[in-house]
């Protein structure tokens, strides 16, 4: 038997497409949609996959990354799925891709207006950490009642002297909706603010899609005396390309527990190895130098 182009049947694609259109018209708001079962498990990127399925056309070029790496086993599996069901071209070069599907990272190089970044999201609801009930979080978004999130962050400060959320740091979109940027590190949050590209977020298991259009305000939560900060990698550099301004993975290299660091974004690391002067380009809004912790 043969499958539809990009696996999903046309009716399912329309359902996802309509939801995506409403999501872009309502920046940061989680639009419910009916998630289809795919041959890939819930929890393994089905929301991102259904979003990409709805977007894909024959002329698209697709890049898939996991933790920033093109050759992670899961990213490869997803690429295989699309190569098989859509026959489209895939790439590891960020600049070549028209659609990038990602798990847990935003690429280091600034994305263009003709590119779309699709996030795989396990936890679409930013308020879930303060409220387990769906009926209640829905009300909180309806009334823009985000007080309890601020209280939770304040309690963090009281307990630890600072806001300790390492990833999935909540941000306010267009001054209205609180958003979970998916489990990207806080390092990547500023890239969502006033970007050139469109960001789409797909949560298959939780059955939501949401979006951040380009040129949109996205402000990660903080307080005047404890503003939002990104991680610092001061004193560390990539052992492959020498970068000091990218998000670095720690790797244990020998039995003595010696550590090395490598760029999480493997494609960008490759570019820097060829040309160390390649800029990241996410602009002045990316405070790469604002330290929060990690003294070495």
């Amino acid at each position: 038997m043969s499958y539809s182009f990009a696996f999903l049947d046309e009716q399912s694609k329309r359902c996802v497409r309509r939801a995506l259109l409403k999501a872009v018209a309502l920046p940061g708001y989680q639009v419910p949609f009916v998630s289809r079962e795919l041959p890939i498990s819930y929890g393994w990127g089905t929301g991102g996959i259904q979003t990409t399925c709805a977007l894909l056309g024959k002329s698209d070029v697709l890049k898939v990354i996991d933790q920033g790496a093109d050759d992670s086993v899961n990213a490869l599996n997803i690429k295989r799925f699309f190569a098989k069901t859509a026959g489209i071209r895939t790439t590891t070069l960020t600049a070549e891709a028209s659609i990038i599907q990602t798990r847990h990272r935003i690429p280091e190089e600034r994305l263009r207006a003709d590119q779309i970044l699709v996030f795989q999201v396990p936890y679409p609801e930013p308020l879930r950490r303060v409220e387990p009930r769906e009926t209640e979080t829905r009300r909180m978004h309806a009334e823009a009642d985000y007080g309890r999130m601020y209280v939770a962050l304040y309690e963090d400060i009281v307990r630890h002297g600072e806001i300790t959320l390492p990833w999935q740091y909540p941000a306010l979109v267009n001054g209205r909706y609180l958003l979970s940027p998916s489990p990207i590190p806080r390092f990547d949050n500023p890239k969502l603010h006033q970007a050139d590209c469109l960001f789409l977020f797909g949560a298959g298991r939780e059955k939501r899609v949401y979006a951040v259009p380009p040129h949109t305000d996205v402000h990660s939560l903080g307080f005047e005396d404890h503003p939002f900060r990104v991680e610092s990698f001061a004193g560390r550099r990539c052992s492959r390309c020498g970068s000091t301004d990218t998000y670095l993975d720690e790797v244990i290299v020998d039995a003595d527990g010696r550590r090395q660091h490598q760029c999480s974004d493997t494609a960008f690391c490759l570019r820097r190895r060829q040309d160390p002067a390649v800029p990241r380009g996410w602009g002045h809004d990316h405070p790469a130098g604002v330290a929060v912790e990690a003294r070495r």
């Binding site: 009916v34 600072e162 998000y247 990690a294």
Partner: protein, 364 residues
Amino acid sequence: MGYVAVRGGEDAIRHSERLLEAFRRREGHPGIQVAQIREQMRLAVDRAMAEGSLYSPTLAALALKQAEGDMVEAAFLLRAYRSTLPRVQTTPTLRPAAMRLVRRISAAFKDIPGGQILGPTRDYTQRLLDFSLLDEEERTDASLSPMSGEATNGAAPPERVSTYLRREGLLPDLPGDVEPPVDITRDAVAFPMPRSARLQALARGEEGALLALAYSSMRGFGNVHPTVAELRVGYLAVQVTIPGLETPVTIGEILVTEVELISRWDADDAEGNAGTQFRLGYGFAFGHNERRTICMAILDRAMQAAAPHAPAEDQEFVIQHIDGIEAQGFTNHWKLPHYVDFQSELDRLRAKRRAAATPAEAKP
């Protein structure tokens, strides 16, 4: 070679698939035929059909073979396949009261019109391992043909026990106008869910999850004191409407299980009735699935509580956590690389420990 290796990822997947095949079908053993699973593991097939939400004994048997007996994996295969099938039409409503019965019992009354039909059940067997099955010979005795539905001897199907209770006013009347049922695989349904959506979610739920939650309710984390008014197992005709023909056409039969469970309600319910009537819990499933349908009926009943006082009564708690395909996906996803997030956590903890080790220099 790491989990995330520059070139090795593709090779790793391919090799893994070959290993799976080697485990699934070891050399020197005759392959299990799909027909054997379908005919001799019918209860596994029935459970896979229910959780896969697709009635096809052959495909369910295939899924079980491919999944090496992993039930949730088999149900997953069926669900993914179901996603690809076009929706031709919604059939006219099936009426389980017209079931061609194979088994029918009631715990509420000793005798019921139409009789108690034991049918094929392990309820009264002794759970002693039968070693003669280790080397079973081919069956030649065809005197007993299974599931022929002859039990009712062509007589009209007996009325439901609940009908008698309704006539006496002990069960609320059936509502006159019924909302069309929603389909949670087609409509985005929000909490609080209509009953049809809850029943559908229960019908597809993972049996272990249903069992645990229903058990919690019967043991005391809940208020349901259940009695099985009726349990039926039998064949239902499936009909379709053909444009141009006045009456629907029967295209086949499916084997189903249905439970109607009654319980009294001690506290005031949503309509303010204080224990003057029984309430009904309903369970229905493809195939022969008694445990599932009893649990389904208990949970259906529990979730009718006006305000939840126990986990089994809380529809957000129950419905969000009983889908096996969703749960297994998320459970298994923890095996995916999480090193970027973990890196942040590592850094944080190390910083804390350093700060604690040198209190004089501790910085915020």
